[in-house]
């Protein structure tokens, strides 16, 4: 598998974990390469957080192994990791700047460097006003940005974020997404978990879809999508609609000038396009690849029925 290529910053190899009677993670294998963004997908309670906790040694797997920076996991490696947990935690009564410096010091930074970087990041994320305030005085979104900064202050090579965009307004979500994309271009490896498919679709190079503790789908975005055929077409047209009876079409909805079409399996949309241009004036012909959301529902839905 391409994923298992050398140079991975973190790799799980057939990792399992159970709590009391409940299996949280089962035989999970994944790895993340430098300069890539990895999406960990799954419905609530699928095992995303459990997997992440094992990745950074908060809990230990019952079986399987964790490799970080190409060595068996050790706490020393954590100095080069930035972790944003799903449940945000900040000291309520502490000033933002003190908090950021404290967290950076725990990651091995000296306080002067931490201070300089904290100011720079707060400027970048447009929260300079908050820097000398106490956390409890800030809005939820601002606190989230501060936590985000504290994850990145020590310039980690591996960034692991559990639901980083949840609860953020669209403007701020985009602001943070841009930061992550920039870090990715700078060669960092980023893993984040989410149940929002659109974000993964836009940002990630590779994904792993977890359902009930097991990986049901994983690989690069292209690989995953190519496993699911493009069989939907949307056409905007004017004129004769009889091309909608073409042999390649399994099902078509005609809204008068706008048609949504599902093709037979293995059918080539190209033939349909030829037929359509012969009959009508075509404004738009869109051969849609399945959205991740559809794949998600198809995969998980299939499992749920089983």
């Amino acid at each position: 598998m391409r994923e298992m290529a050398n140079g991975a910053l973190v790799a799980l190899d057939r990792v399992s974990k159970s709590y009391e009677q409940k299996v949280a993670v089962k035989d999970l294998t994944l790895s993340i390469a430098p300069g890539s963004m990895y999406g960990l997908l799954g419905p609530n309670g699928a095992g995303k957080t459990s997997s992440i906790r094992m990745m950074i040694g908060i809990t230990l797997p019952d079986s399987g192994s964790v490799t970080m920076f190409e060595r068996p996991f050790s706490r020393e490696s954590l100095k080069r990791v930035g972790y944003l947990p799903e449940e945000r935690g900040l000291y309520k009564k502490m000033k933002v700047i003190d908090q950021l410096i404290f967290m950076a010091q725990l990651h091995g930074l000296d306080s002067a460097t931490a201070r300089t970087r904290a100011h720079a990041w707060c400027g970048r994320l447009e929260i300079t006003d908050a820097i000398s305030k106490k956390t409890e005085e800030l809005s939820k979104g601002m606190q989230q940005k501060i936590q985000f900064i504290s994850t990145l202050l020590h310039e980690p090579q591996l960034i692991i974020m559990d639901e980083p965009f949840s609860g953020l307004d669209p403007v701020n979500a985009v602001l943070l997404q841009d930061v992550l994309l920039e870090l990715k271009r700078a060669g960092r490896a980023i893993l984040f978990s989410t149940h929002r498919m659109d974000q993964v679709e836009k940002l990630c190079d590779s994904i792993c879809l977890i359902h009930r503790g097991e990986a049901v789908l994983s690989g690069t975005m292209r690989e995953v999508k190519s496993r699911y055929e493009r069989n939907h077409v949307v056409i905007d047209f004017e004129g004769d609609a009889s091309f909608l009876e073409h042999a390649s079409i399994a099902e078509a909805k005609n809204y008068g000038g706008h048609a949504e079409i599902r093709l037979h399996e293995g059918a080539d949309a190209q033939h349909l396009l030829v037929e359509a241009t012969r009959k009508a004036r075509i404004f738009k012909f869109d051969w849609i690849e399945p959205s991740l959301e559809e794949i998600f529902i198809r995969t998980v839905g299939g499992k749920a029925d089983a």
Partner: protein, 421 residues
């Protein structure tokens, strides 16, 4: 180690720079001072301007009682009513009811005894201090009258009525020193209360702050860099140092207050000699023991607090159970009088060697009498062993507990946590 120190520093600063710390540091000595000042003031005012009537058939006795009462408290107004009959009594009752009088003393001489039958009637149901003072005055007056009847002169009567002064001495390391039991008890009392409150306050403070970090989910962030052991060690160190800082400030401000009180006392009447801050009766060595037993008690109870805090999910639960946790310390407080007067009794020795009770009981024993060195060393040794055990157990509960939310774990579950690593 660096992590633990960073965490300790944060915990220390978070406490020492808080408003609550400033307030308690300032208010406690102030509060103590107010209690001292208040009790001195109350002693001065007590029974001060009372207006009493002594009614009797016996003029000599009534006058003797009046003399005793006035001698005890010159501000008291005492009238004598002789001879007294039932009509007078009704009039007296009316006057007391009309607040013209504070009370009257009805004396009936007994045939074959020198001490008369006495009834004190006043508006307050339990004027305990007046009643106590009256009893002494009546006894003394009756004796004085009786002695005079036997034909002895005034000088001789006075010398017979003089009460004995018991001087107290203490043997320490083979030498005899004068002591003041009131001073000793008072000093021990103040110090033990301070010790108790500091150990309980700072020990349970650890439990509370663990729960707080648990509910605010800070642990999850901290655990991504620091080991649970470092987190716990840092917390104990930081909170303990804050406790020592506060105690240090109190001891310094206490000494200053004592100096102040001594200077103030110089200008006051000699009456309250036994009732001032300067009679603290705490030797410097005792201060060292105080700090030692604070540190030992704090480490023991805060380790338990840390484990306990990690196993619950709300501050209410901490409050509910903290009393149970610190109950061994309360045993020491309840038995304070017994231990102070019987410092070498088997029960005192036994309790002082039982680690959960050691800080309070051993300190009390030290305040009363120098216990044998081996007992002191043994108690400290056992205490250190108990602290090690408490930290061992607590850190295991802590490690698993801080990531567990929801229902409180059962005991079997906690035992299972011990085996996780």
């Amino acid at each position: 180690m660096r992590e633990a120190l960073l965490i300790a520093r944060r915990e220390y600063l978070a406490r020492v720079l808080s408003k609550a710390f400033l307030l308690t540091t300032l208010l406690l000595p102030l509060f103590m001072g107010m209690i001292m000042g208040g009790s001195i003031l109350a002693a001065t005012l007590m029974g001060g301007d009372k207006h009493l009537v002594v009614a009797s058939d016996d003029t000599t006795l009534a006058n003797a009682v009046k003399m005793e009462l006035v001698r005890k408290d010159p501000k008291r107004a005492v009238d004598v009513l002789v001879p007294a009959n039932e009509a007078n009594r009704e009039d007296l009752i009316r006057r007391v009811g009309a607040k013209d009088l504070d009370g009257y003393l009805w004396l009936v001489a007994r045939r074959d005894e020198p001490i008369p039958e006495a009834t004190y009637t006043s508006r307050s149901a339990a004027d305990f201090f007046t009643a106590g003072g009256l009893q002494a005055a009546i006894n003394k007056a009756a004796l004085r009258v009786e002695i005079a009847k036997k034909g002895l002169g005034v000088q001789e009567a006075e010398s017979l009525l003089k009460s004995s002064d018991v001087k107290t001495m203490q043997v320490r390391e083979g030498k005899v020193f004068p002591t003041d039991p009131a001073k000793g008890i008072f000093g021990a009392y103040v110090m033990v209360m301070l010790l108790y409150f500091s150990v309980v306050f700072y020990g349970m403070n650890v439990a509370r702050s663990v729960v707080e970090e648990k509910t605010s989910r800070i642990f999850e962030v901290l655990l991504a860099t620091a080991k649970p052991e470092s987190l716990m060690a840092g917390k104990l160190l930081g909170v303990g140092a804050a406790g020592l800082t506060q105690l240090g400030l109190w001891l310094v401000s206490g000494s200053l207050l004592a100096v102040f009180a001594m200077t103030a006392r110089a200008g006051m009447s000699g009456e309250m000699k036994s009732f001032s801050f300067s009679s603290f009766g705490v030797a410097p060595l005792q201060l060292l023991f105080f700090l030692l037993f604070f540190v030992l008690g704090f480490l023991f109870y805060s380790a338990i607090g840390a484990g306990f805090g990690a196993s619950v999910s709300s501050e209410q639960e901490v409050q509910q159970f903290s009393f149970v946790i610190v109950s061994p310390l309360v045993i020491g407080l309840v038995m304070m009088r017994y231990i102070l007067s019987n410092p070498s009794a088997p029960l005192s020795v036994g309790l002082s060697l039982f680690p959960p009770c050691t800080p309070i009981v051993m300190y009390l024993r030290l305040a009363s009498q120098q216990p044998p060195m081996w007992q002191l060393l043994l108690s400290v040794g056992l205490m250190l062993l108990a602290i090690w055990g408490a930290i061992w157990v607590a850190s295991r509960i802590y490690r698993v507990g801080i990531l567990m939310y929801g229902k409180r774990p059962t005991l079997p579950e906690m035992l299972r946590w011990m085996r996780y690593s």
